[in-house]
Amino acid sequence: MMTCEQTREIVTRLPDTEANTAAVREHLQRCPACRALADFTRQALELPPVVTGTPGLGPILLRAAARRKRRLVWRVAALALVGVVAASAWGIGMRQQRPAESSAELVLAWDGIESKLVELEAAIDADMTAWKQQMAIN
């Protein structure tokens, strides 16, 4: 035998008497208070809410398009920012690398100059020797 409390728990979620179990139906037949709650629940659930007017699809599509555009702008801005940051990082890196490279270049350049000087000195010496020999012959 079902109590009123048990029946009320059921009929507020399942007010349709026919859909309920035999035990609930039996209780509803002999209990006017529970039957009234079931009737009220059914009637309330069947009353559609009043909707006078809703915004149309047109403004929604416009809003969605504006939102898409804004997202696109943000995406481009984010990409541009990433580009700027990457370029700056690369520039800073290059700048930090530059002195080391310059000194290496200087060393290389100095080495080049030194060997050239040696070659030049040897050439001058050879010229001088040749010239002295020439003078001696004359």
Binding site: D39, P49, T54, R67
Partner: protein, 189 residues
């Protein structure tokens, strides 16, 4: 009924994905009333807030519909977005009100029916509808929500998922809602 609805929604969604704009219009037409009624009820008739939330939900639907995966009913998915939208707006509003409302003023106590007012079973359909809407305004938002979703044929399992609560909580909320509504509607059947 639910299976039929699911199938026809799926057909419309597929048509929209393949570029049929008319399918979107049909989907919109099918759900605009229950969705708007939800916001209207939850905001207590604040049409500006309801309009804004309603539009926002459809903007989200347009954004996510191309990637929508059919794991349940479309209506449950749509109402889930609506409930999230309302919760976000409600939280913002509540935080805002905390600054400007003196303590104790935020929660209204549910009113019982006026003794002189006509009783439920003597009212016509319009009268009942008006009375029900007034009574719904008195309910806590969670109970109001359960009632609304039940009116739109959502199962308690779907409602529990939307409200992110156990099934028994959703059932309990419906029970409490019906008891309060009946008291407010001056039902002496």
């Amino acid at each position: 009924m639910a299976e039929e609805e699911k199938n026809s929604d799926a057909v419309l969604i597929a048509a929209y994905r393949s570029g049929n704009q008319r399918a979107l219009e049909e989907l919109f037409e099918r759900y605009r009333r229950p969705l708007y009624a939800y916001f209207n009820r939850m905001t207590g008739g604040d049409t500006m807030a309801a309009d804004d939330m309603f539009q926002e939900v459809w903007v989200k639907v347009l954004r996510y519909l191309p990637n929508y995966r059919e794991s349940g009913r479309f209506s449950a998915w749509l109402f889930q977005i609506a409930a999230n939208q309302f919760r976000t707006a409600y939280r913002r509003r509540r935080n805002w009100l905390k600054f400007f409302t003196p303590a104790g003023d935020e929660e209204a106590t549910p009113e019982t029916a006026d003794d002189a007012a006509p009783v439920w079973h003597e009212m016509d359909e319009n009268g009942r509808r008006r009375k029900l809407e007034q009574a719904l305004e008195q309910l806590p938002p969670e109970q109001r929500e359960v009632f609304h979703w039940r009116q739109n044929d959502l199962s308690f399992k779907e409602i529990a998922e939307i409200q992110k609560c156990p099934l028994n909580t959703a059932l309990g909320r419906m029970n409490l809602a019906m008891k309060s509504l009946r008291r407010c509607c001056h039902d002496d059947m």
